[in-house]
Symmetry: C2
Subunit: 485 residues, 2 copies
């Protein structure tokens, strides 16, 4: 059976049975049920409980057999020793999908946990497919499903899939992404991967028409060879961003206690991921930053960056930050320099690349001129500009209050206008102006400005280092793609 | 003459002449004068102006000769072509120190700028020593001096010196540091280093009794051999943290346009800095983070970290983040594991190192028990714990409102108590809970909590990666120091 049809009940169930909710609302099962209700699941939910008649306002049933309709998916949060029994019950009643959130299996490292996991393994496969145990399950906005603590996650779907061996990271990325306007097709926390593993799920998102971009957090794969074969097939069609954890000695040790897998080795992974055309990241922040860049940037045609900022030291640091991640900062040709020379003040500035406009903020008009000249340079593929707006937002270096709003509006209009006219992508760095409590209002304004940039498709980052790193990933992916032709 | 006596008038002038202030308050000279007044310089300030009688409420003088008292230091912000003349006037009138903030010299790369810089060079040395040109000058709280845009910088001095070839970075670090409770002995932005250069200033801060820790931002040194000799002498006595920019090809190109020096080469610098015992960083953020760690941590006796956090994926990532910067995460011995086993829930947790307490936040009492056990482990030198307080601050995972304050207070009391009882340093990670505008109140609270930790000498960082990186720098410095014995 093809994966899409096979896993349809896992992502788009019409009916869900919930095992493990109770009157105690602090229990995982109850919190999951609450999240599902808050999120607004549209189908029927059937809590299963041996003695309760009603839970969170829903009629409860003593077992699957008592439920009056066919159940598509089971969410299982009962204590570990009861999980195999529930799973058998599901199988006997024709349930085709389950997510087992319960922990206490092989990841504990003890005899009992391993034995329970072996029992689950003997129940895996066939008509009933499941994720887990030891996970947070599935978030699929189009299917009305959410993760354990995700009652308030965005309900609108998007093109990004995230497959995560860790439930914590699945939740963290969904949260990080929320503030960046990134929306998901499917987020799957698959934990110990006793049945559905990284390869199965990769196969699913490869076929999934809703998914255009795949992100993964991997500890140890269960089917490494099959995984890499699928990965090689997928990367030319959809970018795959992979955070492989456990590649340091310390990390490898922790992986073994976490999802009971053996970590691969650094050198092997580096070579294999590069060969497979995957984009490799090493932290959640980098993962989220890179997803944002892939979502908002067009297929980049090169790695040559035009950098614009104010304050000389910043420019050297900017060049270093770009150089360190493999971006080029090409010198401008004389024609471009001449244009810049007639625009930028002669003193305390630089008309080389990076362009140093001399002060942290210039008014909209000269900013637009500089940006247009740099975007127009024939040897520039993309522009990264720093706007140290906190000087305005904090009132430290601001026009008089009555001029502030048009001044800001003017500055914010420049990046999209320059991008649209030049056809070159623009990325904006919006630095924090210090993280003292008394800068909080400036920080609130900064976040709103960041959001307004995201709203017009301009990726924005708080530091040049992060912007350069994300841009480099996108540029290198498309450069790799061109080598395949 | 020894450096301390020689540079006394630069850092502790009793009288300052200001060249370049005018009625136009947007000019650099006027803004500098305003900053000096706002900062509260205690000595006499004499603006020098050819035609004005008064500037910003101060009596102005047509030239140095007209000033009724001896002038210790001159701040020079007149246009570049006038600077040599002003400098000659200073020399003729017995002024012993100057800071030349004006740009437009060799850093422009053009003939005229280079010629002007050559003129300045011919006036360098002798009884008049100066920093600059193309800089932001000196910030010395004990002397009542501040940088160009530093009218609101902290007035209380501290033990950190920062020598920066870039004025922008000097201001940025002072600002970053402000929010971290770091205070400075001297910050010197020395720009083109025509007279006083990195070696002279290093010699000064080496002798300076007020300075215990030195940070530097270097593009290209003027006296490399002398600089490294001084550096080797200093590092066993005072840690020296160096951010060397311009070591990528892109950066080297930018350095040449910035302060007109040739950048060194990556491999040479790496070897030379390591051999000299300097702590090497590659960004402003890392510099500020590392200064904080050096200020708050005792001389670390090893690199073995006990890591505490909640959520399994976080722990693997934590171990990786530590491993990547050369910290060890040693497995606990059975006695410690037994203690943890009796404290931490059996399921969804890990009692290996990193310790995964299973949920992002536990109440103060179990948190204290876990922290005490980990700090008490004989093979742990330092504890890094993550407190995902945003779950409480945002109300997402919080005790009822009336219990919230004692709950938080209890949690915040644990790290200093554990540190004091165990004698092991503790570092706290306070993650941001997302950067949406609607999380701004949680972020404000987070910053206040961070400040309260800093107030009791507990360094705090927003990510585990940053905490580990800073801790590793301190641990490696003291490990290097022990090899000298």
């Amino acid at each position: 059976m093809d994966r899409l049809a096979e896993l349809e009940p896992l992502f788009f169930p019409k009916t869900i049975a919930v095992f493990g909710a109770s009157r105690d609302e602090t229990k995982f099962g109850s919190r999951y049920l609450r999240a599902l209700l808050d999120f607004g699941f549209q189908g029927a939910i059937y809590p299963v409980h041996p003695s309760e008649d009603e839970l969170l306002g829903l009629k409860a049933y003593p077992d699957l057999g008592a439920i009056p309709a066919p159940v598509d998916m089971a969410s299982i949060m009962v204590p570990a020793p009861q999980v195999p029994g529930v799973l058998e019950q599901c199988r006997a009643n024709g349930v085709r999908a389950a997510q087992i959130l319960t922990s206490g299996f092989a990841e504990t490292g003890d005899e009992g946990g391993r034995a329970l996991e072996a029992q689950l393994r003997s129940l895996a496969g066939g008509d009933l497919r499941f994720v887990g145990p030891n996970c947070f399950g599935v978030y699929c906005p189009a299917g009305g499903l959410t993760l354990l603590p995700g009652g308030n996650f965005p309900k609108d779907p998007g093109p990004v899939a995230f497959l995560s061996q860790s439930g914590g990271h699945a939740v963290e990325l969904a949260r990080e992404a929320r503030g960046r306007g990134i929306r998901f097709s499917k987020v799957v926390s698959y934990g110990n991967a006793v049945d559905l593993n990284e390869a199965d799920l990769l196969e699913y998102v490869a076929a999934d028409p809703e998914t255009e971009l795949v992100a993964m957090y991997l500890e140890g794969p269960r089917e490494g060879i099959r995984f890499f074969r699928l990965l090689r097939e997928l990367t030319p069609k959809k970018p795959v961003i992979i955070w492989k954890a456990g590649l340091t000695q310390a990390g490898a040790h922790a992986v073994r206690s976490h999802t009971a897998s053996l970590a691969g080795e650094e050198a092997l992974w580096t070579a294999a991921l590069a060969q497979a055309g995957a984009v490799r990241v090493t932290s959640l922040e980098e993962l989220a930053d890179t997803v944002l860049a892939f979502r908002m940037l067009p297929p980049l045609t090169g790695t040559r960056v035009g950098v614009v900022g104010g304050g000389g030291g910043i420019s050297v640091a900017a060049a270093d930050a770009c150089g360190r991640v493999g971006l080029e900062i090409p010198p401008f040709e004389e024609g471009v320099r001449a244009q810049l020379r007639s625009t930028v003040a002669a003193v305390g500035t630089s008309i080389r690349n990076p362009v140093d406009i001399g002060v942290p903020i210039v008014p909209p008009e000269p900013f637009e001129r500089v940006m247009s000249i740099v975007a127009g340079a024939p040897n520039v593929d993309i522009v990264i500009a720093t706007q140290a707006l906190y000087h305005i937002l904090s009132g430290r270096l601001a026009p008089p209050p009555e001029e502030r709003e048009p001044f800001l509006k003017g500055l914010l209009a420049v990046p999209p206008a320059v991008r649209d006219r030049s056809g070159k992508p623009v990325v904006i760095v919006l630095p924090l102006g210090g993280d003292e409590p008394d800068m909080i209002e400036a920080e609130r304004a900064r976040r709103l400005i960041r959001d307004s940039y995201l709203g017009v498709g301009i990726p924005s980052y708080p530091t040049l280092e992060r912007a350069a790193r994300a841009v480099a990933h996108v540029a290198h992916y498309y450069a790799w793609l061109r080598t395949l032709d």
